[in-house]
């Protein structure tokens, strides 16, 4: 069967430039959904996705389009997660396409995320169709956007299609361009089954649903398939396409985008980027580019109430079924009790996981300061990876520590360039490139340690630019840095939850900040409590909490006895919830307070 009538594409855009709105318009124009089914922003189906206006999971959809040439084409739109945390999934989705619509807001112009996504599209050799959206806006400036396209992205301005997703302008031009400009799926080299898994979801009733693009061959119910990376075999129970809801179809053939269900119990059995082949007649090589998704950001997640540990474990297990990129492992902390060391793709991913634990599982959790994976070369030549500061070897056996770095694209108004460069420098970054975008904005490209943009970089960027700046990033490997483990000590005892790996030059200020916060929340004791930040035993910052001087009830007579006893019972009960750091008893809430304010 020929693939001549199939087109696979996705839409890449900076957030809010209109991707969801345009998707909806395309679905309507191709009568994939009727007006009655219409629901605003149809493709963002998770509550969290709607609220935040981000796409976390892929939402592919198959449309049928009768083109001006009289033929009916099958158009497969692969909506992609819009955030760099999910860039691996983005690149897998793009790998399942031959082309992409590059959507740019006519009033905003090229933004940071536009750049990052265009990079990915180019890496996949996709045909890019620029669409200038929101031309209905009074502030729309089509010539300026065309110029940016030419100057920054090197795409001829005349290729851009002016459109308004909101008003329905330019929609048929876009559909025509998809048919005309995007090439059909390549003819396969043979008829053996090769299907690329670009996403998966877990369905309580049906198990794992794998989203696939068939590169060659065909799959149908009953096919015995084999997963290339694991060698595991399954029997296919159902195949189908997205309309946009999952609709069974007899088979999926070369060029098709659809789903398959086999008897897999957990998302961890199917790896995004993996190749599915026919167990009877396997292909000889996997499709290019598969790699295991590696978590980039790590943090401890602890139940606020230690009684909830088991429940949290169950909740995390359930989350993982649907989110193979999320990892967790039990750990314990003197300050926080029992919890989990978790790995995330990035900060947004971490936030989403925490949010889902709260909403979907009603868990009250607290997380420790997020960190990254360090590559540590020891003096004996051994190479290790460290994601938890507690496991960093002693300084004398470390030859070198390397930290992950990222390339950050930053758009800033001209007047904020100075402040922005200062912020980059404060975060130990180096500017790679500065490009004028238009008369008011520049694009800065900088290399920064991932660790430095984890927490407040975006917030600072927004405040420096009064909300006008934007950023995005891509991973750029590892490089050596002067990193040390900083420990916080209370009365000489290290408190694990606050150990961090920091750059030597930042240790003092971070140490002072944490010491001050701990001082605020630790209750006065009957003795002086020293709070210290230390590197390898050397104190770099200190605070002290003076001893309590007087705490005694004035009157205790016949009428007060019960009240006095109840108070004592409460204190006794409260002691159970205290964490003893040496002689110092500290309520767990105090630690939580500090983690809340310092994250």
């Amino acid at each position: 069967m020929s693939t001549a009538l199939t087109r696979n594409f996705s839409i890449i855009a900076h957030i809010d430039h209109g991707k969801t709105t345009l998707s909806d318009r395309l679905l309507e124009a191709t009568q994939t959904i009727t007006d009655r089914q219409r629901q605003d922003q149809l493709l963002d189906s998770m509550d969290l996705e709607r609220e935040r206006g981000i796409t976390i999971k892929s939402h592919p959809v198959t449309m049928s389009y009768k083109a001006r040439d009289g033929k009916t084409y099958q158009l497969n739109l692969l909506d992609t997660p819009g955030h760099v945390d999910f860039s691996y999934e983005v690149s897998r989705s793009l790998a399942a396409c031959e082309g992409a619509l590059l959507l740019i807001d006519a009033a905003q112009g090229v933004e940071a995320q536009t750049m990052a996504n265009v990079h990915l599209a180019h890496q996949q050799n996709l045909t890019v169709i620029p669409v200038i959206n929101k031309i209905d806006l009074p502030a729309a400036d089509i010539p300026a956007v065309k110029k940016q396209l030419e100057d920054i992205i090197a795409i001829p301005g005349e290729e851009a299609i002016p459109a308004s997703a909101k008003m329905g302008i330019g929609i048929s031009d876009i559909l025509e361009a998809i048919v005309e400009r995007i090439p059909p799926p390549a003819e396969p080299i043979d008829d053996r089954l090769r299907a690329l898994v670009f996403d998966s979801v877990f369905d309580t009733y049906r198990g794992v649903v794998s989203y696939v693009r068939v590169i060659s061959g065909e799959i149908r119910r009953g096919t015995a398939i084999e997963m290339f990376s694991t060698g595991k075999r399954y029997e296919v129970k159902e195949t189908g396409v997205f309309t946009p809801k999952q609709t069974p179809r007899d088979r999926l053939v070369t060029g098709d985008v659809g789903y398959l269900i086999a008897n897999m119990k957990s998302s961890s059995e199917v790896k995004i980027g993996d190749t599915i082949t026919d167990a009877q007649r396997p292909c000889s090589e996997a499709l290019p580019g598969f790699k295991e998704i590696q978590p980039m950001v790590f943090a401890g997640i602890y139940p606020v109430s230690s009684d909830d540990f088991e429940q949290l474990k169950v909740a995390m297990g359930k989350l993982q079924i649907n989110d193979a990129a999320f990892t967790f492992q039990a750990e314990s902390s003197a300050a926080l009790g029992f919890g989990f060391r978790c790995g995330f793709l990035g900060l947004l991913h971490m936030e989403i996981v925490q949010e889902r634990l709260r909403r979907e599982f009603d868990m009250d959790v607290i997380s420790t300061y997020p960190g990254v994976i360090y590559h540590v070369k020891k003096t004996d030549g051994e190479q290790i990876e460290v994601d938890n500061p507690s496991y960093l070897p002693e300084p004398q056996v470390i030859e070198e520590i390397q930290e992950p770095i990222v390339r950050v694209f930053i758009m800033v108004p001209n007047e904020n360039i100075g402040d922005m460069m200062q912020l980059v420098a404060d975060k130990r970054g180096e500017l790679e490139n500065t490009e004028t975008l238009d008369t008011t904005r520049v694009l800065l490209t900088a290399i920064l340690p991932l660790n430095e943009i984890l927490v407040d970089f975006n917030d600072k960027l927004k405040s420096v630019t009064r909300g006008y700046g934007s950023m995005d990033y891509e991973h750029a490997g590892y490089r050596p840095a002067k990193l040390v483990k900083m420990e916080m000590m209370i009365s000489g005892e290290p408190v694990d939850a606050f150990s961090t790996i920091v750059h030597r030059d930042k240790a003092e200020s971070r140490g002072r900040e944490l010491a001050a916060k701990l001082k605020e929340v630790i209750p006065q004791q009957m003795f002086v409590v020293a709070i210290q930040a230390a590197i390898g035993g050397k104190i770099i910052a200190r605070e002290s909490i003076s001893a309590m001087r007087k705490n005694v009830t004035a009157k205790c007579y016949g009428g007060d006895i019960t009240r006095k006893r109840k108070l004592l019972e409460k204190q006794k009960e409260g002691k159970k919830r205290m964490k003893a750091i040496g002689k110092v008893n500290i309520p767990q809430e105090a630690f939580i307070q500090v983690l809340k304010t310092s994250n």
Binding site: M526, R549, K550, N551, V552, T553, K555, C556, G558, L568
Partner: protein, 372 residues
């Protein structure tokens, strides 16, 4: 039948309500004091049906017991003597406020058997009295003291309050000196606390009245030094006495003895049961008149409750507690050993008791919590 040696009688009337006071009290209003006095006697009569009264100490507290008229006092005290044999009473204390009694009333009390007066002076400084909202002057308090001596009371105690906002160390020292100079047999020195449901607490929360731990601590130590220097024994956190003038009644509370309380808001503890007489004078009278016990908040005390109570109360006294009631008596392990090491508690003679040190006294609540 349970033998009762200690009786508390609550007289909830005050002329004027002090804004810091957390006791159950109110203005006498139009309540018939005669009915009140009769109800007190009836409540005692009811209680006597299932207890064996063998009184050793009696305490009339309030409120202001001296607000009752001489005839009502006479009716109450003679009524009491008619109900039970008072020959075993070793101490009979009554709380008195300045400007609420004269020599005749004082002499009457003395004649009817009261042995000991606790006089609510609170301060000898005009400005501190004003902050406290007291309705008497230092001169009236001094006159009241002399009246009590004139009436022949051999044991007169003075109540003082310290760490009142605005009070200076010099002011507090002068308060103590004055009590010593007058020859008070007993001094209660209370750190001002902001009690629930008081005007002071509201004003404290609004920031008008401060509390200051450093001021609390230094005035507390000043009291200990001054009074001990003048021959008083610091026998409980807030109480000082010349030898032989310690309050037997209060010591009974602290050692965990049973006691009977009558009058609205009074608490009783008898054989592991504790209750409170209704803290509502009118309702309390109505119940008693109907021949019913007017009890509320009944509790059954477990052994652990009693252990914690001893720790909470007796630990505050100079004798301290038997070491056996904390940490199973193991003095070498934590938390006992580290509290000893920190100089907050010490082993008291003959070696099987624990008591607070000078610094431990100031931190008694925290130390107690650490041992609980």
């Amino acid at each position: 039948m349970a033998a009762i040696s200690h009786l508390y009688v609550h007289i909830p009337f005050c002329h004027h309500i002090c804004p810091y006071c957390g006791f159950y009290k109110h203005q006498p209003g139009r309540l018939a004091n005669r009915a009140f006095v009769d109800a007190l006697l009836d409540e005692l009569r009811l209680a006597a049906r299932d207890t064996d009264l063998a009184l050793e100490t009696i305490f009339f507290g309030g409120g202001t017991p001296t607000l009752l008229s001489p005839s009502h006092l006479e009716r109450l005290l003679t009524g009491l003597a008619g109900l039970t044999d008072l020959s075993g009473v070793r101490e009979w204390t009554l709380e008195a406020n300045p400007a609420t009694f004269d020599l005749a009333k004082a002499s009457l009390l003395r004649d009817l058997g009261v042995t000991r007066i606790s006089l609510g002076v609170q301060s000898w400084q005009t400005d501190t009295l004003a902050t406290l909202g007291r309705d008497h002057s230092p001169e009236q308090a001094e006159a009241a003291y002399h009246v009590l001596r004139e009436a022949g009371f051999a044991s007169v105690g003075i109540d003082l309050i310290f760490s009142v906002p605005g009070q200076t160390a010099a002011g507090w020292a002068a308060d103590l000196d004055k009590a010593i100079a007058l020859g008070a047999d007993h001094v209660s020195a209370y750190n001002l606390t902001y009690e629930e449901d008081t005007e002071f607490l509201t004003r404290h929360e609004r920031g008008e009245l401060n509390s200051d731990e450093d001021r609390d601590a230094s005035l507390f130590y000043l009291a200990i030094d001054t009074l001990e220097g003048a021959g008083y024994r610091h026998y409980e956190i807030s109480n000082y006495a010349r030898p032989g003038h310690e309050s037997l009644h209060n010591q009974a509370y602290w050692s965990g003895a049973d006691y009977l309380g009558i009058g609205p808001g009074a608490v009783s503890t008898v054989e592991g049961r504790r209750w409170k007489s209704l803290p509502d004078t009118a309702a309390w009278i109505a119940r008693i008149q109907a021949g019913q016990p007017a009890h509320t908040e009944l509790e059954h005390l477990t052994d652990e409750d009693r252990r914690l109570e001893r720790l909470a109360l007796q630990f505050r006294t100079a004798e301290g507690i038997p070491a056996a009631i904390v940490a199973g008596g193991d003095l070498r392990s934590d938390p006992v050993s580290s509290l000893i090491e920190q100089g907050l508690i010490e082993i008291a003679p003959p070696g099987d008791r624990l008591r607070l040190t000078r610094r431990g006294k100031a931190l008694a609540d925290s130390v107690t919590a650490a041992l609980a």
